[in-house]
């Protein structure tokens, strides 16, 4: 792990999130109707965006693993699912808190909230499955299948507010949001992205180390280490 990832990225995360949240909490104006409560947007929206991004990375990693077996993509899939679930859960909690003063309820089974709940349950199931399968290769293949099928939740969650009638409003765009609110949202989103990368890097290293420990037995499974692979093939020849 190079120095930038180890120290620079966390510092950048703190700076961006700090700046974005300061802008959002102190600098940006309150909303005409929601007042101060609208400031929840600067944490809720970046969380949900990054949860979607992590879960999309999970999908890509799963497909890549099946196409070309590698413990790196399997470790990446594990890392992205866990971090995505963390962000998604926080996104749901903050959204629920936001719902209480604005909608009047913490929860309602509207299409957006329901599909989001299904999404979180499916990624929880994914991680549970990974825990229960002992054999690393079987685990990687089975969980990749679950990841690919579970990924259909992502477009469903995203488009749920457009496809069906819901309590949740449709996506905002810079046209529907005042510039003074767009800026803190952008900065916070980049801060959240940096945090996502920090979490993913560390979680990925943990997963990869676990995989390597699991497959430490020689010739048990294919390896990403070219040196080992070379020695293996020479043995065969």
């Amino acid at each position: 792990m190079n120095k930038f990832v180890k120290f620079g990225l966390p510092a950048l995360t703190l700076a961006l999130l700090g700046a974005g949240w300061w802008l959002g909490l102190a600098w940006a104006p309150p909303d005409r109707e929601m007042g101060e409560v609208q400031r929840i947007m600067y944490v809720h929206v970046p969380l949900q965006w990054m949860a979607m991004m992590a879960m999309f990375i999970n999908f890509v990693a799963a497909v890549t693993y099946l196409m070309r077996q590698s413990w790196k993509t399997d470790a990446m899939a594990e890392a992205s699912a866990e971090v995505g679930l963390l962000f998604g859960t926080l996104g749901m909690i903050t959204g629920s808190i936001w719902g209480r003063p604005t909608w009047g309820v913490y929860w309602s089974w509207d299409p957006r909230l329901t599909s989001e709940a299904i999404l979180l349950v499916s990624y929880t199931g994914y991680l549970v499955l990974r825990r229960f399968v002992e054999d690393p290769e079987k685990r990687a293949v089975w969980s990749a299948v679950v990841a690919i099928i579970g990924a259909i939740n992502l477009p469903i969650v995203w488009f749920s507010v457009r496809w069906w009638r819901s309590l949740h409003q449709v996506q905002s765009s810079p046209k529907t949001v005042d510039p003074q609110m767009v800026l803190p949202l952008r900065v916070s989103a980049f801060g959240m992205l940096a945090l996502l990368i920090v979490f993913m890097v560390h979680r990925y290293r943990i997963a990869l180390a676990e995989r390597k420990a699991e497959v430490a037995l020689p010739e048990a499974l294919p390896t990403d280490d070219p040196a080992l692979r070379a020695s293996h093939s020479s043995k065969v020849a």
């Binding site: 409560v37 909690i93 560390h202 979680r203 180390a209």
Partner: protein, 55 residues
């Protein structure tokens, strides 16, 4: 006192504007930050050891 609360309710109903609500805002940010700190701690606790001694 009851008349005061009902007066406040009367003032609120139909105004269409949220008054106050900082508590909800702090709850959201507080929960998120707390979760990030806890998750960072869990990553640190699970950090790979010995095998990656090069770094």
């Amino acid at each position: 006192m009851t008349s005061l609360t009902s007066l406040m309710l009367l003032a609120q109903v139909g105004s269409g504007r949220l008054q106050g609500g900082w508590g909800y805002v702090w709850a959201c940010y507080g929960i998120s930050v707390a979760a990030f700190v806890l998750y960072s701690a869990s990553l640190w606790a699970r950090r790979p050891r010995a095998t990656d001694s090069k770094e």
